[in-house]
Amino acid sequence: MDILVKFYAVDIPVSLKSTKFDLPEGSVVEDALDECLKLPEITIDEDYFKASIVLKNGGRTHLKDALSDGDVLSILRTMEGG
């Protein structure tokens, strides 16, 4: 199934800021994040990346939530600085 991942505030080339992944049926949100981390262009620490805010189709989601074909995941790196 196709999952579109949009990256926000993540250091990644502009061409990859919106990237489609082909994941097996039964995949969950964390599987998509693991696929993202396989991109050589993402050099962010795994724990820090997985602490990002993840929205599925604009709504709150959790790492173990199931994915469906056509889902859009928005990954916002947590920003706390002031």
Partner: protein
Amino acid sequence: MDLSRRYDRNMNALSPDECALLREKRVCVVGCGGLGGYIIEILARIGVGHLTVVDGDVFDVTNLNRQLLCSEKVIGKSKAKRAKKHVAKINSDVSVTAVSDFLTAENCTDIVSGHDLVVDALDNASARRILAAGCAEAGITVVHGAIGGWYGQVSVVPPGSAVFDVLYPEGKKDTPNPAGNPSFTPPVIASLEAAEAVKYLCGRESPLTGNLLVIDLKSMDFEIIDIA
């Protein structure tokens, strides 16, 4: 010195009635560091009537690269007291209360109560959760901003909105910022927060109410995300 034309250049961007309205408003800026310094400066110059500036911290040498209120002479001095002195130099029309305390669950509601708006210039998730709870209890809207490296975010958070719950959920640890704090990001995000504050105080609508503007200064992408 005749300062009667102090607000001339506000005109047309703001109406005379809006300028007069700003003079009656009370705004609490929580945090007087990278974001807060610029926000306080902008709100003072545009003529917000009263500012309460809150920060329990003192200036540190690592603040020199980006914090407007920090200079070599004030290392070790209270950020909140420095903010008050700075505003006095810019605009004697503006009254300022300096609170040299960190925000806690115990003092938050007392500090924010009595203001028309709170502006978030904090630097960690746990303090923001405290601020969100205190402002929800007091029924006060928060203009939120945060930065990390080349990135920033801004939102207008009405009381009861889920924005803070989404961005900084309970139980999530404070995450150290590996992205750095360069000098150019705070003034961008602070200016956007100040613009949202002025709009809110003047009763204007904002597309950021309940939504999050995410700014990427590398690619110059500005995108509004519905997160609530």
